[in-house]
């Protein structure tokens, strides 16, 4: 094999040209501000209601084609519920433990080799949080490995390629290496970002969340992250929602008794916003995520299947 000899000058020239082309391509393909999903078929979300929590999950997933469509035999599956706070299930600050446990069982039934339930807890005292939230015992009983991601050794530095504000993040290694990962948020109002649903829930897979708050725009960070990190499936727990003093409460709760599932993360979130009595276009990070092409936020363009 012969190698083409090039001069240093030639190298710089070519490199500059290649860079320019790459930059231009990125600018064009990115189509900043214009959603990619425009031409695609409208996304479908499933809304399950009037059942017990576990049945809601099963009905919603079945309506999407069953868990086998998302989880293949032998897969390592990561579930990301919201287990941030030392709160009881009836306070609606964490994902409903029955919902989490049922998703674990469905993944196991679909042939998953291992199901990991992971979150980066916020309240101190992981034993307290896991026990009070009910998710620790419930998920373990269902056969999952429950991991509280409390040490930096569990994260790896990732560059956020299309991030406008967020350039890098330390993301859970388990999530990076999973065959499938599923987002399991709960619907709550949020003092900082208006609501917390799927996109906001992803802050729980990064190490330094404080940096997002300190950045130029928290909303933009959430949107930037959602562009790069797309779950295979989002199952939104709205069995019981928190309506005041979110995200930790204690506040007023209500029981819509609903589970929403879909593959378009933003469509699920946008529908979730309405469950909290607000509009998607009023929520900063949802608007930004839509602009960045994460998914659909216009409710009239989201197909809702009720089961």
């Amino acid at each position: 094999m012969t190698r083409e000899e090039i001069t240093r000058r030639e190298f710089f020239k070519r490199a500059a040209a290649a860079g320019l082309v790459a930059y231009g391509a990125a600018e064009l393909s990115g189509l900043d501000g214009i959603p990619e999903a425009e031409a695609a078929t409208p996304p479908t979300i499933v809304v399950a209601s009037k059942k017990k929590p576990a049945e809601l999950v099963r009905a919603a997933v079945d309506a999407l084609g069953g868990m086998k469509k998302f989880v293949k035999p032998g897969d390592i599956v990561v579930l990301k519920p919201n287990i941030a706070w030392a709160r009881k299930p009836e306070q609606a600050a964490n994902t409903n433990p029955e919902v989490v446990a049922e998703v674990v069982r469905l993944c196991k039934a679909a042939g998953a080799r291992e199901v990991k339930v992971i979150d980066h807890l916020i309240d101190p005292g992981e034993a307290t949080v896991l026990k009070m939230s009910g998710i620790g015992p419930a998920a373990q009983a269902a056969g999952a490995r429950v991991i509280s991601a409390g040490s930096l050794a569990m994260y790896q530095r990732v560059s956020i390629k299309r991030g406008r504000t967020l350039k890098t993040a330390d993301v859970l290694r388990d999530l990076m290496r999973a065959d499938v990962w599923i987002n399991l948020p709960i619907a709550k109002v949020h003092s900082g970002t208006g609501v917390t649903l799927g996109c906001k829930n992803l802050m729980g897979v990064v190490w330094d969340r404080g940096a997002w708050h300190q950045s130029a725009s928290l909303d933009q960070c959430i949107a930037d992250f959602a562009v790069q990190f797309r779950p295979r499936l989002v199952i939104l727990d709205a069995v019981r929602v928190l309506l005041t003093n979110g995200p930790k409460g204690p506040g007023k709760t209500a029981s819509p008794g609903i589970v929403v599932a879909g593959t378009d993360p933003l469509a699920v979130d946008s529908f979730g916003v309405t469950l909290l009595g607000r509009k998607p276009q009023d929520i900063g990070h949802i608007k930004l995520a839509y602009a960045a092409g994460v998914g659909e936020m216009r409710l009239d363009r989201i197909k809702v299947r009720n089961v």
Binding site: T128, A153, G210, H213, K248, A254
Partner: protein
């Protein structure tokens, strides 16, 4: 039979040390033990005496456990020191481990009376009225002492060494193993060799379960104190036990009535092996005589006697036991003077000066005590600085005081929110405090046990000063004491000091590095009020009741 006593004693020592370590380890969240985890501290009569006399109150949970040791000493002399005391066993073990043999009995310093003088001095610190009546802002209605027993009690000292030194060291090691295993588990190498994952993962899950890194200040100070006690063995084995330990002095004094006696028969050849072997130098020159208040019942003398001349008898036989303490009157007066000085010095330290027209001292700004703590003056005298509360605290929030509260509060627990906050769902510190310096409290009561008040530093706060979208403090607050004030479209945190109990969750969560922009200060500390008064205060604030709304009816 008597010859087996040494072996039995060693078994007992190891068993009690193991029990001490196990109870220490099991004093943790979600773990329950059949006996109180602070059993050794409660059984210590000196601690019980100090906590009751110096704080002028009866503490029954202490009394019930201390009485058996008193009875034991009345019957068997200082058997506690030889057979049970984990400090004595630790010293024995260290002397073996580091080959510390001590000087020959004739050359070893004979300071055995010192421990009695120290005991006298400590008794004085308990009795003297250090904080007196009337001072309403002190929050106390009676005089209390300023016991210095924490400095010299062996059980408190050893527990403190375990809490502040041994535990962080062990946790550091576990943490290193855990992090290494975690990182290894994610490596490509393990990916290629899946069988390795099956081996590594269960081990990693095990280490992950017990790994809970803890950090304490004053670790070096505490370590050097303990190390010094061991190193003193260079001048005589169990130097601490024979010359310094005030608990040993107390038990030796009680043991004067013990009917047990060591008798030496006519077979004695004066080979002096018992004299050389005696751990505490209780056999001085004549092997037929020994000091009753010194003997810790280790029975090495019986075991080493080549002609089996030494035996243990109960009463009757007039053996050579000498029960006189031979205290010197002048030294007694000096000891009393030392006790008075030990009270006066911290009380005239700059840190004890009170601010004009305010209840707080200059050293109190960051003096945030755990919930349930007694008012400051009874608290510092009751607290023996054993560090159990710091050990059990699941968030590592409690740290030994160094500066906060001044000289008299040295090494007592203070909440350092930036290290860890007081978690709403926990009441462990109150349940392990042996002296009830922290009174037991329920989790429900925590919403009105005011430790302090949080204050936002608006110059540092990124919401106030930089218009950033933050409000992490509002998110973190467990009690809904923080609300947001919207100005210019940005929410900015505002604290309701009537609701804020000063748990520090906000200070811990604040992303402003390094020190945060929201701080808990002791200004809201309401320990001087009774729990009922604090509850009434809290109930004056009408908060929206937490309720379930019908849906959909937003």
């Amino acid at each position: 039979m008597s010859r087996r006593l040494r072996g039995l004693r060693r078994v007992s020592q190891v068993a009690f040390l193991a029990a001490f370590v196990a109870l220490f380890g099991f004093a943790a969240y979600l773990v329950s033990t059949p006996v109180p985890p602070d059993l050794f501290l409660r059984a210590d009569p000196l601690i019980a005496f100090s906590a009751m006399v110096s704080a002028r109150r009866l503490v029954l949970p202490l009394l019930w456990f201390a009485i058996p040791v008193v009875v034991l000493s009345l019957l068997f002399g200082r058997a506690f020191c030889g057979w049970i005391c984990p400090m004595g066993t630790s010293i024995d073990l260290c002397e073996r481990l580091f080959h510390i043999r001590g000087l020959r009995p004739s050359k070893a310093p004979q300071w055995r009376r010192l421990k009695f003088y120290l005991l006298i001095a400590l008794l004085l610190t308990m009795l003297l009225p250090a904080a007196h009546k009337s001072a309403e802002e002190l929050g106390i209605s009676k005089t209390v002492g300023l016991s210095a027993v924490y400095a010299l009690d062996p059980i408190a000292l050893l527990t403190r060494t375990f809490s502040l030194v041994a535990l962080p060291a062990a946790q550091w090691a576990i943490g290193m193993v855990n992090d290494s295993l975690t990182a290894f588990g994610y490596s490509d190498f393990v990916d290629r060799h899946q069988w390795l994952a099956r081996v590594v993962n269960p081990v990693q899950m095990g280490t992950n379960l017990v790994a809970r890194p803890v950090y304490f200040r004053l670790g070096l100070f505490t370590f050097l104190f303990f190390g010094g006690i061991v190193a003193l063995g260079r001048f005589g084995r169990r130097f601490w036990c024979r010359n310094i330990c005030p608990l040993g002095a107390l038990l030796g004094f009680l043991g004067k009535v013990s009917p047990l006696r060591l008798a030496v028969s006519e077979k004695c050849t004066r080979c002096m092996r018992c004299v050389n072997e005696c751990k505490v130098g209780a056999i001085t020159e004549d092997p037929k005589k020994y000091l009753g208040a010194e003997c810790i019942g280790c029975y090495s003398c019986i075991a080493v006697c080549p002609v089996s001349a030494v035996s243990l008898t109960a009463g009757g036989a007039d053996a050579g036991r000498d029960d006189a303490l031979q205290l010197d009157r002048r030294r007694l007066l000096q000891a009393a003077g030392a006790g008075v000085a030990a009270v006066i010095i911290p009380k005239v330290d700059w840190s004890a000066k009170r601010a004009e027209r305010a209840a707080t001292k200059f050293s109190d700004a960051k003096l945030i005590r755990p919930p349930g703590a007694l008012p400051e003056e009874p608290f510092v005298t009751a607290c023996v600085r054993c560090g159990e509360c710091m050990k059990v605290c699941p968030t590592n929030a409690l740290q030994p005081a160094f500066g906060e509260g001044g000289l008299q509060a040295l090494e007592s627990p203070v909440l350092v929110p930036r290290v860890g906050p007081c978690s709403q769902a926990c009441n462990l510190c109150g349940s392990v405090c042996p002296t009830r310096a922290i009174e037991p409290f329920t989790i429900e009561e925590k919403s009105y046990l005011y430790l302090g008040t949080a204050v936002v530093d608006r110059n540092m706060c990124i919401a106030w000063a930089n218009d950033k979208q933050c409000l992490i403090c509002d998110e973190a607050c467990s009690y809904d004491a923080i609300s947001q004030k919207k100005t210019g479209g940005v929410g900015r945190p505002v604290i309701d000091e009537r609701i804020c109990v000063g748990c520090g969750l906000c200070e811990r969560a604040c992303p402003v590095q390094p020190q945060g922009a929201i701080h808990v200060y002791a200004s809201g500390d309401k320990r001087h009020l009774s729990r009922r008064e604090q509850r009434d205060l809290r109930e004056q604030v009408k908060q929206e009741p937490v309720s379930e709304l019908p849906y959909p009816n937003l």
